[in-house]
Amino acid sequence: MCGIAGLFIKNPKLEPQLGELLTKMTSTLCSRGPDSAGFAIYSAGQDGKTKLTIAGPSADYDIATAAEKLRAAVAPKAPTAIHYSHAVLTLTANEARHAREWLEANLPDVNVVSEGHRLEIFKEVGYPDDVAALFGIGAMSGSHGITHTRMATESAVSTDGAHPFSTGADQCLVHNGSLSNHASLRRQLQRDGIKIKTQNDSEVAAGYLTKQMRSGQTLEGALKSSLDDLDGFFTFVVGTEKGFGVLRDPIACKPAVMAETDDYVAFASEYKSLAGLPGISGAKVWEPKPATVYFWERS
C-alpha cells in the first residue's frame, strides 16, 4: 500500500526545480505510506561513466567509510558523493563491475541500490517528509524523477524493502498494490539467477522485469507480459533513462492520475499531489486505463 508520484520535465527551465517539486509531491502522500520513502532522480550523466548508488542495511550504517574502502579498492580517483545514508560513485563500466564483485566479497551488507548513466536512487525508512529532507532531495535537479511512500503490507520495513527497486541500468520500478503470487514467482526467479533480497512483493515485480529484459524483451514487452504472469493488484511506474512508463492491472483498483502541460508530464496516486505543480489549473488531467502500457519519453 503506497503513494506514488512522478515528474517528467519537458521544459528544461524547470530542471533545477525537479527535486523541490518532487519533494512537495511526496509530502502530500505521507499518510499513504508513512513507513519509508524513496526517490529515483535522473540527473545529468557524464559521458562514458555510470553512477553506482550504494547503501548499507540501515540508515545508521557508516556508508562514507564503506564508500571510501570501495573507492580505494576499485577506482581511487572516482568522484564520490555522500547523500545521508547513501553514497554515489561515478565509475567506468568496468570499474562498476569490479565494484559489485568487490562489495559482494568484502562488504556483503552493502547493497547496490541503482546503477546507471543518469539514475540515482535514494530510499530509507522513515516518514517521507523526513526522508526527503535527510537526503536533501529538494536541492536536486534533473530531467525526471519518481517518488514512492510505503505502507508495508507483508514484508519488513527496511532500507532494502523501500522503493524504488532497480530493474537494470538506468531503470527502476515503484509499485502500489499487493501481488498474490509473488512467493512462487520469487522462487522461480531465484532459480533463474535473479537476485531478490527481501520478502517484498514489489522487489519480485522488479526482478521479473529484469529477467524479461535479460531474455531480450523490451521494457514495454516486459510490462505487457507482466499482465499475464503477475497476479494481484498493482499500479506500476517504471523509470527509464529517457522518461517513465505506467501500467495498471486489469482490475485497476489502485488509483492513478496523470497531468500534462507544455512544461511537464506528471503522475501521482492522488490529484492532491499534483495540485502544487506550476500551471496545474490549465493542465490536461486524466487517468491511465487498466491493462494499458503508457510511456512518456524524450526522443
Binding site: 485497476a252 492522488e270 488531467v285 487517468e287
Partner: protein, 229 residues
Amino acid sequence: MPNIDLSKTRVRELNAALHQLKPDTNETLWTITNPGGEHSIAAGVDAEVTINIQGNAGYYCGGMNKHATIVVDGSAGQGVGENMMSGLIHVKGDASQSAGATGRGGRLIVDGNASARCGISMKGIDIVVKGDIGHLSAFMGQNGRLVVFGEAGEALGDSLYEARIYVRGPVASLGADCIEKQMRDEHKAELHELLKLSGEAFKVDVAEFRRYGSARKLYNFNIDNAGAY
C-alpha cells in the same frame, strides 16, 4: 455568502460549519476556493445550500450528501457523491473511480469523463456522464439510472439488479447478466426527462441511446449459470 479558502482553512473546519447549518439558514451559497484535491470536501451535508468548489476535489467529495447542490468547477477524485441520498452534485471536469458509488438518490452530473466503477452498487441515484465511463460501471447496480453520452468500458452492468443504463456510444463489453433491451417510448420519455434535468434536453437526441438492463438470470441460483458466478 461564506467564502472558504482551503489553503487557509482545514476541511474539518469547513465541514463542521456546513454540518451546523439549520434548515432555515440564510447562508445558502458557499464558495470554496483552493480545494487542492483535499479529501471529503462537503461530505455529510444535510441542508439545502449551494456549494461551489472552485478547483479540483479529492476523494469522497459530497459523500452521503443530502439536499445540497455541490458544483465542482474542476475534477473530482475517487467516490464523488458516494452513498448520496438527495440533492445534486455537478462535476464540470472529470470524475475518478467509483463516482456515485452506492448512491441512493439525487443526481450526479459529470460534464467530462467518469472512470472505472461509475455507479457501482447504485441504489437509486441518477447519474449523467457527458463523456465516457470506465470498466465495471454499474456493477451490482440495484436501482436508479445511469446515462452515458460517450463510450462505456468493459463489463458494463455486471451482476446487475434493477438499475437502468442508457449509453449513446459503443460499449466495450457487457458484464454477466447485463443485456441490451428494447428502447420503448416509456424509456425515451424517461431518458428525455433525465436529459432535461441535466440541461441537455434538446441538444442530444434520445433516439441515439441504447438501453441496457438485467437479464435477471442470476436472481435465483441455477447450476446452468454457474460460469457467471
